[in-house]
């Protein structure tokens, strides 16, 4: 559906230096899917999104939607943003303060009608809607975002959440081929953000509209996406389902950026194929001792690796459990979070973080056993 191929972007900053944003970014998004570009600020995710929108002009690459090429450096094609027909929700929402709710949402339909006389491109030749059709479509989309009873309200009188929904309605009203969302939840407070996260997901799944979503918030990405691309320094580090990204990070950066994790450095001692054929079962010698781990990467004897294990996978028990990767340790610190209890456990010179159910009541200073299940230990090659 959406295909981005070998995208390079750069722009001059205030000092006139050339900043390289996206570097060789390629991905495809299937019809009806929500695809997230996730990364820290300055990783090039917003520039990539704006390039798809046509608001930035890339240096090189190709962008196509449903086989309609909207940008191609080799073919010299650049379709202006207003002719691409994509819907976009901006970070600031960009609600026009001089129009009311209805007028904001109706704008895309109005300008589409007005412009059709002057346009000659086949894709752009569209007919003007009648007043009643337009009204019906606007009210339908306002109803979908639950703003129908506020249609006559001045846009400046809306709360943050309402502005966000209006921006969404405006992007959806022209039934776009593609919906682009630029950190749409970042301006909301935490409670509202979680609520809108569900609404956004419901709406996207119901309308089955192909969506590209940009965020720096990993929990948002995990909650909403069909697929996530983690970006760092202008490059895509890994593409996968939320579960892949979380459980099988491909690099130290991804493991660190998405969720919390423990890193244990070591050297590979041996490696053997595992029953699951794209996995390997290896032994890593670390400061804590030998560690049985799994890896998706090709590892050899002597490779320097770092082993990532999530806090919720660091199991604790007061009696020594059976199985591999068990150490004796001591509870160093506890933090009660309500639904969970965070432990810091000292194992030799190392401190491991563990998230447990609050029923575990071991006191600070007491001995405890730590078990790291080999299939949860992900060995990542140190580059």
């Amino acid at each position: 559906m959406l295909r981005v191929d070998g995208l390079f972007t750069e722009y001059p900053n205030e000092k006139g230096e050339v900043v390289r944003a996206a570097q060789d970014v390629s991905f495809t998004v299937d019809e009806g899917r929500l695809f997230t570009l996730l990364g820290p600020s300055g990783c090039g995710k917003t520039t990539t999104l704006r390039s798809i929108a046509g608001l930035e002009r890339p240096k090189a690459g190709e962008i196509a939607v449903n086989d309609r090429v909207v940008y191609s450096s080799s073919k010299g094609i650049f379709v202006a943003p207003n002719r691409r027909g994509f819907g976009m929700v901006f970070q600031s929402y960009a609600i026009w303060p001089h129009m009311n709710v209805f007028e904001n949402a109706a704008f895309p339909l109005e300008v589409r009608g007005a412009g059709s006389v002057l346009r000659f491109g086949s894709a752009a030749r569209r007919t003007r809607l009648s007043r009643s059709d337009m009204r019906e479509r606007v009210m339908r989309v306002l109803t979908a975002v639950q703003l129908d009873d506020l249609a006559d309200r001045a846009a400046t009188k809306l709360s943050g959440g309402q502005q966000q929904r209006l921006a969404l309605a405006r992007a959806l009203v022209m039934e776009p081929a593609l919906l682009l969302l630029d950190e749409p939840l970042s301006n909301l407070d935490a409670k509202l953000r979680e609520k809108m996260r569900f609404e956004l997901k419901r709406l996207q799944r119901e309308l089955k509209i192909t969506t590209v979503y940009v965020t720096h918030d990993q929990s948002e990405a995990l909650a909403l996406s069909h697929q996530i691309a983690v970006m760092h320094r202008g490059r895509i580090q890994q593409v996968g389902t939320p579960r892949d990204i979380y459980e099988r990070p491909a690099s130290q950066f991804v493991a660190d950026f998405v969720g919390n994790t423990n890193f244990i450095d070591g050297v590979v001692v041996s490696c053997a194929p595992h029953a699951d054929h794209d996995q390997r079962s290896c032994v890593v010698r670390s400061e804590m001792g030998d560690l049985k781990v799994h890896s998706a990467q090709e590892l050899h004897h002597g490779d320097r690796v770092t082993v990532s294990i999530r806090p919720e996978d660091v199991e604790l028990s007061e009696e020594r459990p059976a199985g591999d990767n068990v150490w004796g340790g001591r509870v160093d610190q506890k933090v009660f979070l309500g639904e969970a209890l965070d432990f810091q456990v000292a194992v030799g010179a190392r401190t491991l973080f563990s998230r447990r159910h609050p029923t575990l009541r071991t006191k600070i200073g007491e001995a405890i056993f730590v078990q790291l299940r080999p299939d949860k230990c992900v060995a990542l090659k140190v580059s």
């Binding site: 900053n13 929108a53 943003p81 207003n82 976009m88 960009a94 026009w96 704008f107 300008v111 412009g115």
Partner: protein
């Protein structure tokens, strides 16, 4: 001078790929660039050129000379001129600052009663033109006829008048009072822009009220303080009315007065005036340069957060009645007394100090005189046409310039911004002189007509118009335009449906402001008017020269009332169309 947003791009610029075609945009851009350079740079060049030329007479042609500079700066008089100017300007700046900053602090940071009428202060410099304010203070504090002097002499039995308005101190008093509302506005903005949590966190760290003021408040407002004093200094050194009316009669000469004298001497010494003007221009340029440097640093001091802003007020307790009375005295000095004395004098046949006999001689004669003044309809029409025309042209041209500077990535756009802002360094009198020289030497048939005055007004007020348009253009978030593009709107639709409606309040506010400042303009007009092209402020000036004080007062009262109505209309319009002050 202004920081332009480097990251701002115009998405539509990139839209026009593939088919290079004729674009009307470039015609407009080119025309406005040529216009700006013509209007702002050429007169300056002629001023410099003239300052190195001898006067041209029927017998001898003009030649190159350094004589003007020798005459202007070669004598011991020069040193006196220089020190008097600096004394006057810095005295005025400091006096106005102390008054204005103190009042701003009272208004923004304390619970002084009657604060609601403080806003009226911002109207004063707009409503009472400098020349009328000066005349009013002559009637109040001149040693011979000043009401305050006579009253104090009667009460205290003094032989000598206690105040002499015809002195450097008197000049500082009048000009400082007149500029104090400007200081009040600038400092209020600085106090308001500061996030109170910065002060609160200092308090929580254990700092006393005094320590907070010294270590935090003062440090954070420091750039604003310096900038305000510099602006006041520049305004004072280029002010013309006070030095001409108060300084010249007693031989106190500052730069502006020296320029005026040189032009009005017979034979007129334009070269000498130019040599003085160049020095004055150098001083104001340095001042303006430092002001723009300081405001450029604004972001570094990022006092503006907009988040969780609640103005915090100090409870003054019983002291608030003291601050309230300071405020009332100030209001008397700056509004009530000057206006009352003009009003009183406007009902007299010959000027007389208020007394019971004088009260019986009240007459409407001065108003009859003014209303039957031969050129009055023509003069009023000139004033209205000029201010209307100047305001319209200024706002149209500056909105194009500002669009280029803010919304395009054209190379050299910063230069355009600076050229258009250049006239701000011209004192009114110097601008009038430059334009006079230019059109005397390049005869295109507009010297002595209303057009030369229109050009002068447009040049003089272009920087102010630019400030209004730039402020509102910068407030239009890039995403507001981009979302229109994503909605499928073309460039022209976006401009018409989104940019212009959002720009409208700023354009309207700027238009009204330029209109008001044009209508009271004196110091540029005074070198350019002819009998046919008199404006209201020039008639006031001429009545003063002729000693027709009561007639002048009548015209002044009418002028102030009309300006007041105009300002009220502007405010009403502003509120209707949502202009935020």
């Amino acid at each position: 001078m202004r920081v332009s947003t480097g990251a701002t791009t115009n998405v539509f610029d990139r839209g026009a790929v593939l088919r290079p075609q004729f674009d009307w945009k470039w015609v407009i851009i080119g025309a406005s660039v040529v216009f700006t350079v013509y209007i702002a740079v050429i007169p300056l060049a002629f001023l410099l050129w003239q300052s190195f030329r001898t006067p041209e007479t029927a017998a001898t042609a003009a030649v190159w000379t350094l004589g003007n500079y020798a005459a202007a700066y070669g004598s011991t008089e020069t040193l006196r001129l220089f020190t008097t100017s600096l004394q006057f300007a810095s005295g005025t700046a400091l006096f106005a600052f102390v008054l204005g900053a103190g009042l701003a602090w009272m208004n923004e940071r304390t619970n002084t009663p009657f604060k609601t009428i403080f806003f009226a202060l911002s109207l004063i410099p707009l409503v009472i033109p400098s020349i009328l304010f000066t005349v009013a203070w002559i009637l109040l504090a001149s040693p011979q006829i000043g009401i305050i002097n006579l009253v104090l002499q009667g009460w205290l039995g003094l032989a000598e008048a206690p105040f002499d308005i015809y002195s450097v101190a008197g000049m500082i008093w009048v000009d400082g009072l007149h500029y104090s509302p400007m200081a009040f506005l600038l400092m209020s903005a600085a106090f308001r822009a500061m996030d109170p949590s910065l002060e609160e966190s200092a308090t929580m760290s254990g700092a006393s009220v005094f320590q907070v003021a010294r270590r935090v408040t003062l440090r954070l407002t420091w750039p604003a303080i310096v900038a305000t004093i510099l602006i006041l200094f520049v305004r004072a050194i280029e002010s013309f009315e006070v030095p001409a009316l108060l300084g010249l009669p007693s031989g106190i000469v500052v730069f502006t007065a020296a320029i005026y004298q040189a032009v009005h001497r017979y034979p007129s010494q334009v070269g000498l005036a130019s040599a003085y003007a160049v020095a004055l221009l150098a001083i104001t340029s340095v001042g303006v340069y430092f002001v723009s440097r300081l405001s450029g640093q604004g972001s570094k001091y990022a006092t503006m957060t907009g988040k969780g802003f609640r103005p915090r007020q100090i409870d003054l307790g019983r002291w608030r009645w003291l601050t309230a009375s300071i405020f009332i005295v100030y209001f008397l000095l700056i509004v009530v007394l000057p206006f009352s004395v003009l009003l009183w004098s406007s009902f007299q046949r010959f000027y007389a100090v208020p007394s019971t006999e004088a009260l019986q001689n009240l007459t409407l004669d001065p108003y009859r005189f003014i209303l039957s003044y031969p050129n009055l309809p023509r003069t009023v029409l000139n004033s209205l046409l000029l201010s209307f025309g100047a305001a319209t042209i200024v706002m149209l041209v500056t909105s194009v310039i500002c669009w280029i500077v803010v919304k395009t990535k054209l190379p050299g756009r910063w230069l355009l911004d600076n050229v258009a802002s250049l006239p701000i360094v011209f004192p009114g009198l110097v601008l009038g002189l430059s334009i006079m020289i230019f059109y005397l030497n390049v005869d295109v048939g507009i010297y002595g007509t209303i057009w030369i005055m229109l050009i002068a007004y447009v040049t003089r007020f272009m920087p102010y118009g630019l400030r209004y348009t730039t402020t509102s253009m910068l407030q239009i978030h890039r995403e507001l335009e981009e979302s229109a593009a994503m909605s499928g709107a073309s460039w022209s639709t976006t401009f018409r449906r989104v940019v212009l409606p959002l720009l409208k309040p700023g354009l309207l506010a700027g238009w009204i402001y330029v209109m008001i400042v044009s209508i009271r303009e004196l110091s540029t007009s005074i070198l350019l008017y002819s009998p046919d092209t008199q404006v209201v402020s020039i008639v006031i000036w001429e009545l003063w020269e002729n000693g027709q004080y009561v007639e002048l007062s009548a015209l002044g009262v009418l002028f102030i009332i009309s300006l007041f109505v105009l300002v009220l209309m502007a405010r009403w319009l502003g509120q209707k169309y949502g202009i935020k002050e």
